[in-house]
């Protein structure tokens, strides 16, 4: 039964990837391109998320 569930889940994930492909292709080909400073503005909060997760890990290990 567990293998059946795994295969059903894998099939659903593959279908979701198949459904996501046109959106991914559209955004990669026609999406707006980053201007100067855009990536920096995105990377700073994402780096803060990484730091915060490390802090949470330290909290649960205490």
């Amino acid at each position: 039964m567990e293998m059946f569930v795994m295969i059903a889940g894998a099939a659903l994930f593959c279908f979701m990837i198949f459904r996501m492909y046109p959106a991914a292709k559209h955004w990669m080909e026609h999406g707006p391109k980053a201007e100067q400073g855009d990536w920096q503005a995105a990377i700073i909060p994402l780096a803060a998320v990484v730091g915060f997760v490390i802090l949470l890990i330290a909290m649960v290990r205490m």
Binding site: L12, F13, M16, M20, D38, P45, A48, L56, R61
Partner: protein, 222 residues
């Protein structure tokens, strides 16, 4: 003179529409998160077999892919989104029961819950206050999500703990990016339907919670 007046009125109308969209999205998001938490609590008490939880998870995703896009422009969309979030919340039950049975379980679940809330509020607040357009991240986020999903499917069969941990970290980063992306699309007019916006943000929060829980569970000393 009239042209100037029309331009000012149009801008004010657009700002009003954006504010209404943001307000409706956050209200619906709050309601769906509370409903999801109630369903998760029901699931913890009822202790359904894991196959039922898996069916709820698959059912929720199928409704999200096929039914929600058609129903989102009508009042039925509200019922559908509550059904989806209820199913996804119920699907969390067996996983939460497993974590809560660990020695540090309640602390891990509480930390993941609080951590997810802080990550979402900080990122969404940052996107709202900076008013930056993060839509340039779209291609990177969608492509990254596809790669991570493929690797996840492979790891269900390979069962490599190191890869699972790396994928959880990648999902948290990608979903954090999606929060910036979705919030900025609401502000900049890329998304005008609050049910779609709510579903996107809900999925980001749901995935961050699950994967944060997984990382904290592995990294704790239990």
């Amino acid at each position: 003179m009239n042209r100037v007046d029309f331009s000012v009125a149009s801008q004010a109308g657009s700002t009003l529409a954006t504010n209404k969209l943001i307000k409706n999205t956050y209200m619906l998001l709050s309601a769906t998160l509370v409903f999801s938490a109630i369903m998760a609590a029901v699931s913890i008490v009822a202790q359904p077999p894991s196959i039922i939880a898996m069916v709820c998870l698959i059912g929720g995703m199928v409704l999200g892919i096929f039914v929600l896009p058609k129903a989102a422009n009508s009042s039925a969309g509200l019922g559908v989104i509550f059904l989806i979030t209820g199913l996804l919340g119920f699907a969390l039950g067996p996983m939460l029961t497993q974590y809560l049975a660990m020695e540090k379980g309640p602390q891990i679940v509480g930390t993941a819950f609080g951590g997810t809330g802080i990550i979402f509020l900080s990122l969404s607040g940052y996107a709202l206050t900076s008013k930056r357009d993060f839509s340039f991240m779209g291609g990177f986020l969608f492509a990254g999500m596809m790669v991570v999903m493929l690797a996840m499917v492979a790891n269900w069969f390979l069962a490599l703990p190191g890869l699972a941990l790396a994928l959880s970290a990648a999902v948290i980063l990608l979903m954090s990016g999606f929060i910036l992306f979705d919030t900025s699309r609401m502000i900049n007019g890329g998304e005008t339907n609050y049910i779609h916006a709510t579903f996107g943000l809900y999925l980001s929060i749901f995935n961050i919670f699950i994967h944060l829980l997984s990382i904290l569970g592995v990294m704790s000393d239990d």
